[in-house]
């Protein structure tokens, strides 16, 4: 049962992961008319005790990837190897046991806490479900420890989620996630629903917990500044696949993929002096529909560096340009050395025809993904 690699090597390895959601049509006949390729072939690995930050715009598949790792959605293809075991091969009881070791913190702290359960019940439920904590007293002591760890007073036990502020609710969500002493914590937009002054508290809490408990993090966020702050390795996703992956400092010092560069130039920096000087790369149009992704390089419809050859018809593979720095762009070296000049968004839009968005049969259904509803379409 126990493979030899357990306990060594990366904690989580994702290989060729694909999650496709069928698009259904028809009232009487339930026809599948296409697929939304939410995650389309992602490879990544996370070392023990490190933080992997996954960034991308809404609809790029980052949340679906996080859910597929936990098997909250079924992967269509690919492997998720957690500590030597393929999670996709597990079912029933072994899967339940595996899930104890990988926990999730959700984006919306109010939506992910049952409004009718008080904090004590919320925190003791996972312990009871897994038969941990050692009876009534054991659980009570453990919960007090948890509250202490996330900086909430013991008086919080008898209260209900609506009585807390957003930051406190997120602390409860984190306490619940760490109650089972997991190895991997997947945090999906942990601070994006919070006020600026509270964001920093939660980010600091996550970092402190990582140090104290030796957790491994997969942090999914759209805020590049937050991801840069807490991640060791950053992966950038665009339309279901990774376009660049590198150590945190490397990716911010020298982003190689045109999309990463555009993304970084779009993040406002709270400093007028920096704001006036920095380069700004505006992208043309919106994210194309993941139901009908562009051919070749998926970014070519918006890319300011698009070339006549290769970009339109040849899908670029993830290549290692520097140690640990992977990028999927045919022209990464030329762009880095400044041998190719970017075009303005108007030129890019013009070269792609008037309509920038992909149009087609499956357009309206897939809109939810394009419009920033960060949830997979439910399968019925």
């Amino acid at each position: 049962m126990t493979p030899p690699e357990q306990g060594t090597g990366p904690l989580l390895r994702v290989e060729g992961l694909e999650v496709h959601f069928p698009i259904r049509r028809g009232v009487v006949f339930d026809r599948t008319v296409g697929h939304v390729r939410a995650v389309d072939g992602v490879d990544l690995s996370i070392d023990r005790g490190t933080t992997y930050g996954l960034v991308g715009e809404s609809g790029c598949g980052k949340s679906t990837l996080g859910r597929a790792v936990l098997r909250l959605v079924e992967p269509t293809a690919g492997r998720v190897v957690f500590d030597g075991t393929d999670v996709a091969s597990l079912a029933g009881e072994p899967l339940r046991h595996m899930r104890r070791r990988m926990q999730m913190v959700f984006q919306d702290p109010l939506g992910s806490l049952d409004p009718r359960q008080n904090v004590e019940s919320l925190l003791s439920e996972p312990l009871r479900a897994h038969g941990l904590g050692g009876g009534r007293e054991g659980i009570a002591a453990k919960i007090r420890g948890l509250l202490d760890a996330v900086g909430l007073p013991a008086a919080a036990l008898r209260r209900y989620p609506h009585e807390f502020s957003g930051g406190q609710r997120q602390r409860i969500g984190i306490a619940r996630a760490i109650s089972l002493e997991p190895d991997l914590l997947i945090a999906d937009e942990p601070v994006s629903a919070l006020d600026v002054s509270v964001q920093a508290q939660v980010v600091n809490l996550l970092e402190e917990l990582q140090q104290r408990l030796g957790l491994t993090f997969l942090v999914i966020a759209h805020d590049l500044a937050v991801v840069r702050h807490i991640s060791d390795v950053v992966g950038v996703m665009y339309l279901g696949s990774l376009v660049e992956q590198a150590p945190s400092d490397a990716i911010y010092d020298q982003p190689l993929h045109p999309y990463t560069r555009a993304l970084m130039s779009a993040v406002p920096v709270p400093d007028p002096v920096v704001e006036e000087r920095r380069e700004r790369i505006l992208l043309a149009g919106d994210l194309p529909s993941p139901a009908n992704p562009p051919s070749g390089c998926r970014f070519h419809t918006r890319c300011p560096w698009r070339q006549e050859t290769r970009c339109d018809d040849e899908a670029p593979a993830l290549r290692e340009l520097a140690p640990g720095h992977l990028v999927s762009c045919h022209w990464a070296e030329e762009i880095r050395d400044g041998r190719l000049a970017p075009k303005s968004p108007e030129e890019v839009a013009a070269s792609q025809g008037v309509s920038i968005r992909a149009t087609g049969v499956a357009d309206i259904e897939s809109d939810a993904l394009v419009q920033g509803v960060d949830q997979p379409i439910e399968r019925t």
Binding site: E57, R228, V267, V273, E275, A349
Partner: protein, 356 residues
Amino acid sequence: MSIEAVPTGGADPGQSSVLEVEELAVTFTRRGEAATRAVDGVSFAVAAGETIGLVGESGCGKSVTSLAIMGLLPRRGVQVSGSVRFGGTELVGAADRTLRELRGADMAMVFQDPLSSLNPTVPIGTQVTEVLVEHEDLNRKQATAEAIDLLDRVGIPDPARRLKEYPHQLSGGMRQRALIAMALACSPRLLIADEPTTALDVTIQAQILELLRELVQGSGTALVMITHDLGVVAGLCDRVHVMYAGKIIESADRHDLFARPRQPYTGGLLASVPRLDAGRGTPLTPIRGSARDAIPWAEGCAFAPRCDNAQDDCLTEVSGSTVPLEYDGPGRELRCRHPLTHPPVASGATASGAAR
């Protein structure tokens, strides 16, 4: 710098202000409950072609301020006092008719959530032309031509086709563009943008901000930008007012504000935002507690319970008076008794920024 040193907030007829807000206060009352003062004596002015920012966290009263200016608050249970003058017209207590004529034509607003501020059952085209037909005295045909031109200007590709589409068929960025097109339809003199980019992705946000920047520079529209994002403010606004618990606590030009924040709250906000251009090791210094911990202004500085600089005289009980908004150097105003101090000789970047 001294030429710019005109104290804003007070009555200042010298500058051609498009909008002058003075001592604006909004109180929500509900039977059986204590009244809530959401906005408490806010004063500011906007000149043509100027962009001012109202910054603060959720619940600080920035959106209520904008609704009060536009006269969009319900009558029942709401008391608005103070004065809002728009090009000489007093808006507080003005007749509905007057407001209707001004709204959409001379003053317009862009809301945060484009999906809920567009009518889902009406095509975009009808919603854009409605404004034109109402205020510009155009017939349907002219209005449609104008609407196509507007959508084109805000960067919506293939505008003629988009006119027939419904809001759900547009992406988030496009909806926000459509909303901006509607707001700009009659070339307003004042545009209030309430968190226009919060619901959007960063790359789309960059497009929308660029659009707003072009508008202000091109047409001389006065823009009031309401946001919680200090990065957006740093790139767009000329003058920034920081709000906390319904009051302005610090006003300054953006270079001054970011280089030398004086209110501990402003400083705390800046220190708690992770910056893209800072290294991984840079620690974040959060502000203690949350905005819920504020005390009423009548009892002292509302920020005192969370403030590291707070001393006994921040409370009204000790000092005998509430904390006033005072002159704090050229072009700056501050509401604090124990502000952050900065070394008199600033660093190179700061000095060049401040002496703009």
